[in-house]
Amino acid sequence: VSGYDVTSRPSVPGTASSGPAPAQLADVLERVLDKGIVIAGDIRINLLDIELLTIRLRLLIASADKAREMGIAWWDGDPFLSGRRDGGALEDRIKRLEAKAGLEDAQER
């Protein structure tokens, strides 16, 4: 059943998933708050605010131990699979942001 139409939106029902399609809101939040190019506007304070907010969203995400138990953190420690995302502690992230004073978050890829 591969009638997947990439020109339509939103949310294609999973071709093989059963059960109710989860709300798309989580996907939108994740992308709009945590992805996309970071730019430093005139209102500098809000970059940090947003960063704090995404940290809060992250805290909703299963704790690392639980994640490992469920097999969720299966790519941890595999630089090839983990790619450029998910690079380290929140502390580093905050420090980096502060150091850059709101400049572009162009870390290693």
Partner: protein, 249 residues
Amino acid sequence: MTATAAGTLWYAYAVVAAGAEGSAPLGDELELVRVGDVAVVATRVPASDFGEDVLPARLNDRAWLERAVQEHDRVVQRLLASGAVVPLRFGSLHRDRRALEEFLESRRDEFATALDRVRGHVELGLKVWLAKDGGGDDAPPPASGRDYLERQRAARDRRAAASAEVGERLRDVHERLLRVADAGVLNRPQARELTGDPRPMVMNAAYLVPAGDAALAAEVDRLADEHPQLAFELTGPWAPYNFVEAASA
């Protein structure tokens, strides 16, 4: 603050190729700020919502935030329909058009490169869930305390083995999908609090594919047939949110 003196701020959604607006009118609430061959799509927002003094409170108002975020994506999505889009992260605010122009000017080459990279492409999201929890529910009640403990231990061993097996399967899934995509990114699986789904999410990925290309969806179909214990959900097409961050690298 001078930034809020006028009562409005310029909120930037995305960078597009200048000239792209010709094919799809922006609508009167959106402004196009051009510098050379790139342009920022922005809108004027009230400082009473986005000013420095109120924004922190707004950001922690979940209903407000959800509306604002949905609106951001709606605009970006609309732009995607008419050409290459480099989405900006939520909350890119400038005090006026001039400030936005200066910003664009300063990073013009970077954006041109990013636009070239994603042109003709869309992002597809893939979420994978454990379809079932590993059984054991229909067993008779434990006959003794020792029986109970042994069962607990066996269940724990089963979970560990299952988890290793799931990890292997997901590696295979990701590697196969990378072969039919231009790029792929693994993100942390979303929490149940966010998804509202009782099943545990075990994979949350995004892939960059040519617009209109069905190869990845077809591969997902095959993977779903091969892995009945996993539930696959494709979302999108999205603007390439996950594939613009390292554009300057």
